[in-house]
Subunit: 277 residues, 2 copies
């Protein structure tokens, strides 16, 4: 299989429409049809069920779609990393969620900079999804928070674990409680909503937010309630309260990097990070 075939297949599998997929790929529809047919022929497997009105994925097609997306991301990442490795001044790019790991991040950067042989660390702050730059090669290492961000296929070391609190205006009915359960919070109409992996928002009445910054602003304005790791409470705005949520899942901060990394600098950074856990 060539990556061209995988790109074409992913386009068709996502659009479920040969015409639109061809347009997206910048080619005509017939060669696309032919390429997919060849791919199926060589695999000996039907990837798509097509009638003249509807295209749908077979079981094998669904499996290949997941694999192909990962492979194509890995190819893009490989290109970026090869280019990066050629730079005369080596550097390490670290991705982290904006406002996500304030103290850990600062301590880590300081501790690493003090190491002998340390190289410059570039910070890539993401409003959301800091694992994405790791997968597509824009970053060499990332600070992630399980279970919010997936660590599938990455190598990780745990840095710390923290409980979660519900953050809300002091005037909120739940604010006087000393402890909450998830059920209490989920019932609150002001509970902020995050986009799912496909970009759509779940049903609900709370505000829709796309980043931690937005969320904290909404909470600061008294417009939202949110469940967050207790670490973000340091420096909470005036008038807001944080109430422990006793049955919320613990949040684990991990340092993550792609497998096969063989850089000395990355190894040092990870060692420093896990050292002062």
């Amino acid at each position: 299989m060539e990556t061209r075939e995988l790109r074409y297949f992913v386009a068709v599998a996502e659009e479920l429409h040969f015409g639109r997929a061809a347009e997206r790929l910048g080619i005509a529809q017939p060669p696309l049809s032919r390429t997919i047919a060849q791919l199926e022929h060589r695999l000996g497997v039907a990837l798509l069920e097509r009638t003249s009105r509807k295209v749908s994925l077979t079981n094998a097609g669904a499996v290949l779609l997941a694999e192909a997306r990962a492979i194509l991301a890995a190819v893009v990442a490989a290109e970026r990393r090869a280019r990066g490795a050629a730079a005369d001044r080596p550097s390490l790019v670290m991705a982290a969620k904006t406002g996500g790991s304030g103290e850990v991040l600062a301590k880590l950067l300081d501790a690493y900079a003090a190491e002998p042989g340390a190289i410059p660390v570039e910070l890539l702050l993401c409003e959301a999804n800091p694992h994405v730059p790791l997968l597509d090669g824009r970053a060499d290492v990332a600070l992630l928070h399980e279970p919010y961000e997936p660590t599938n296929g990455l190598d990780v070391e745990v840095l710390n674990t923290e409980a979660q609190v519900a953050v809300m205006p002091g005037s909120h009915p739940l604010a006087m409680r000393t402890g909450l359960r998830m059920a209490d919070v989920l019932a609150a109409p002001e509970l902020a909503r995050w986009p799912a992996a496909d970009g759509t928002y779940p049903d609900g009445t709370g505000v829709e937010v796309r980043s931690l910054t937005q969320l904290l602003q909404m909470v600061g304005l008294g417009r939202a309630v949110a469940v967050l790791p207790e670490g973000v409470c340091t420096g909470l705005a005036e008038g807001l309260v944080a109430v422990p949520v006793v049955d919320a899942p613990k949040v684990t901060t991990v340092i993550a990097w792609p497998p096969h990394s063989r850089s000395r600098a990355l190894a040092d950074l990870v060692r420093v990070a896990t050292g002062f856990s």
Copy 2:
């Protein structure tokens, strides 16, 4: 980047010789030179330093080599998994090291078979390196033993952790001790030797073995001393003794599977496995 280019590059990077690489690929040398040059040109990066006498990898080339190997393995795995998903009778292939996890394995298979909706589990026993079939798509799930087998880029759940013992003939000088340190064992001239990742054996005087079966046979014949997880002691041959090695690293048995797996059967199996930890 096309996988063809990556295959060509890996061949050259491994052979460090255009002629041999071309032969291995079944093509002539000039088109190979040209393809590598095109790849470098498009990446804007030199991957190889060549004189007319010697070819060597640049920094960028070394990075790309690691990435390319992983990508090519993923492509092969994707093909196999797509074919497998099309089979009318779904099945799950589990890889494990021969003789590696006797009890855990039996209990796991029984417990899973008792699940509602369980599908047949095929066993793929490997003399060594049970993680390889997972990476190239021959297996869907594997039982691995850290730190012996790498779990880079795989999703894992820990099943159990065990200490290690030194196994040797009862007549061995160390056999009367009640506890050993790694230094004691490493000094023993009968210490069996395993191949490293590149297939070569480290220096030493002990026998060279390639599988657990071979090793146990050698130990049973009184020809070798080995450090193994204590679990393998059950059913040790007559006349052999196992002495705890107090400072040996703990061995962790994990169940591992490739990321992006979305199979119901695999999820059930993992749940069952972690359930009776």
